[in-house]
């Protein structure tokens, strides 16, 4: 109990520190004239920010919805022999810079929203599929064997044994994927995908420091928020027995 009290204590301190930090940042931002600049761009920020979040949500959501089942499928006995090949392809794929992925996507699908989403989807898909496969493959064979030996069907083994035990690694993949995704979205502007990249790149091109920050700061905040959300999911949805966070 003492330990918990100590942890709570530290949390309080940490929270207090955070408030002070935010406050002084705010004061500095106001004093240096940054905040007024951000407020000037408020309409742009909300409009482009919504576009930005849409890009992340659609491409990331699709990557999760397709990546996890694909990763699972590649570990099923029917497709297992393609598993190793797929893993190698994924590893090579992960080394391609996301900017190149965007460029390739544009050469394939032209300019606009669709090629941007497609490129982001592809870039996010790789870590999700890879980690899903790796997580399921890392489930010790004797767990599978005892499940089979007690009369669980392959589907029951997947849902009751393989997925729960691979979940932490799968989440890690999703986290990486979303980090890549959020980090790449500003580049989507370059192929006409919109988003906060528009402010960043125009700011750079026109040498307007404020405009650039009006794009950069929300982008950074979004990255932190997305990571926080995934961490919460990780914390609450992984069974305590296999959750290194609890």
């Amino acid at each position: 109990m003492d330990e918990q009290a100590a942890v709570a204590d530290i949390r309080q301190w940490w929270r207090g520190g955070l408030y002070i930090l935010i406050f002084s940042l705010g004061a500095w931002a106001w004093g240096s004239g940054l905040l007024p600049v951000l407020l000037d761009h408020w309409d742009d920020i909300t409009f482009l920010g919504r576009q930005h979040i849409q890009l992340v949500a659609i491409s990331g959501g699709l990557a999760i919805l397709i990546g996890v089942p694909a990763g699972v499928a590649l570990t099923r006995s029917r497709f297992r022999r393609y598993g190793d090949v797929a893993m190698q392809v994924l590893n090579i794929g992960a080394t391609i810079p996301t900017l190149a992925v965007l460029a390739l996507s544009m050469s394939l699908l032209g300019i606009g929203n669709t090629p941007a989403i497609f490129a982001l989807f592809i870039a996010s898909l790789l870590p999700i599929v890879g980690n899903t496969m790796a997580g399921i493959r890392a489930v010790p064979p004797y767990l599978r064997e005892s499940a089979r030996g007690m009369g669980l069907s392959p589907r029951q083994i997947l849902w009751q044994v393989e997925l729960p035990n691979a979940l932490f690694v799968i989440y890690a993949g999703i986290r990486t994927a979303l980090a890549i995704n959020v980090g790449t979205v500003p580049l989507a502007f370059l192929i006409g995908g919109g988003g906060l990249g528009e402010l960043i790149f125009s700011g750079i091109a026109l040498n307007q420091f404020g405009t650039m920050l009006a794009g950069a700061i929300p982008t950074a905040l979004l990255a932190i928020v997305v990571d926080f959300i995934v961490t919460q999911f990780q914390f609450w949805t992984i069974p305590r027995g296999v959750n290194p966070m609890r």
Binding site: L143, E145, G149, L152
Partner: protein, 370 residues
């Protein structure tokens, strides 16, 4: 009952069979231990029973039904299965682990959870403490107990156990073995048990099946395996001390001289000496009015002594019970540096005595008729 008829298994990409025409029957309620060196086909034989491995040829029956007639998944739900690595699911609580098979069989939740608590009680683990824990929060020995409970949760008539206690340290292994035997005396499952430890086999088995290179070379009771190994492979495998191992299987009662001569406190030393001389004994036990052992008199004291036995006796240094095994008896003799022990039942009644000679005679009898 489990019956294997001419069962063979040759794995793909292999020319020699891993299991070669094995025929054996495990009678209802007995423990059959499959014993043999590494790679001799014990696990393969066992896994063919629940069809984790399909036999290449031959038939396997459980009760009088051919296992080939079942759907493999359904079949496995009627057979308990314990492996050396235990295989508790780390993502499930102890309760959910134990209730695994009841849950897939669709038992009512209240019934299966009550069963889990009842089972934990059976191995002296407090349900309140353990039901909601996760496997990682248990010691190895506790996990192993849960592994066994999980296997019997849905009350299957048949149990397969592949080196279930192999990963536990020797001291705790003994404890868990004893506990399991006690449980088995109540639940009377038909059990196939893989081991490569001869001592474990001797202790657990009603029958031992000795394997060599996929062939069943001897199938018999532990005492017969030890007393009459069918071939030199078996005698080598069970070890040079196989006679000593037999001591665990025989009880004091087997080697005891029943209803031996005795004296009471009122008898004279002369009478005692005469009785000892008549039977060629070096000492005689004194009993009370209800047949309880009170002490003993040595021949050297009684001979030429005067007076009552009651005034000249010595207390017995130690005694054994008729139900104890001979290994304990011999060990007691060595510890107290005596060559005979009085046998006393739970009420303290004098039943007879064992001597080192009666034990060696008992052991050698078995060799003579073999």
């Amino acid at each position: 009952m489990i019956r294997l008829e001419h069962v063979s298994k040759t794995f793909p990409n292999s020319t020699t069979p891993a299991v070669d025409h094995v025929t054996l029957e495990v009678p209802e309620g007995e423990i059959c231990v499959l014993l043999g060196p590494s790679g001799c086909g014990k696990t393969t034989t066992m896994k063919m029973v629940n069809r984790l491995i399909e036999p290449s040829s031959g038939e396997i029956f459980i009760g009088d039904r051919n296992t080939a007639d079942y759907d493999p998944v359904q079949l496995r739900r009627t057979i308990g299965y314990v492996i050396q690595q235990i295989g508790l699911f780390p993502n499930k609580t102890i309760e959910d682990n134990i209730c695994l098979v009841p849950d897939v069989l669709g038992w009512e939740r209240s019934k299966s959870r009550a069963r889990a608590a009842e089972l934990l009680d059976m191995v002296a683990l407090d349900p309140g403490t353990f039901l909601k824990r996760y496997p990682k929060e248990l010691s190895g020995g506790q996990q192993q107990r849960i592994g066994v409970l999980r296997a019997i949760a849905a009350d299957p008539p048949v149990l397969l156990m592949d080196e279930p206690f192999g990963a536990i340290d020797p001291i705790n292994r003994e404890i868990i073995q004893d506990e399991f035997l006690k449980m088995q005396a109540r639940i009377k499952k038909t059990i196939m048990f893989v081991s490569h430890d001869i001592d474990e086999a001797v202790k657990m088995a009603d029958r031992i099946a000795i394997f060599r290179d996929g062939r069943l070379v001897q199938y018999d009771t532990p005492d017969n395996i030890l007393a009459h190994p069918a071939e030199s492979f078996v005698s080598d495998f069970v070890g040079g001390d196989r006679t000593l191992k037999r001591l665990q299987l025989l009880t004091v009662n087997d080697a005891m001289q029943h209803d031996p001569p005795r004296v009471t406190a009122e008898d004279t030393l002369e009478t005692a000496a005469a009785i000892m001389a008549e039977h060629g004994h070096q000492a005689i036990v004194i009993v009370g009015p209800r047949g309880r052992a009170r002490g003993y008199v040595q021949l050297s004291v009684a001979r030429g002594g005067k007076g009552k036995v009651g005034e000249n006796h010595e207390t017995l240094p130690t005694t054994v019970k008729p139900g104890e095994d001979l290994r304990t008896a011999v060990s007691t003799m060595f510890r107290h540096d005596v060559s005979w022990l009085a046998c006393i039942d739970d009420e303290g009644t004098f039943k007879g005595y064992v001597t080192l000679r009666s034990i060696t005679r008992l052991l050698s009898e078995a060799y003579r008729d073999g």
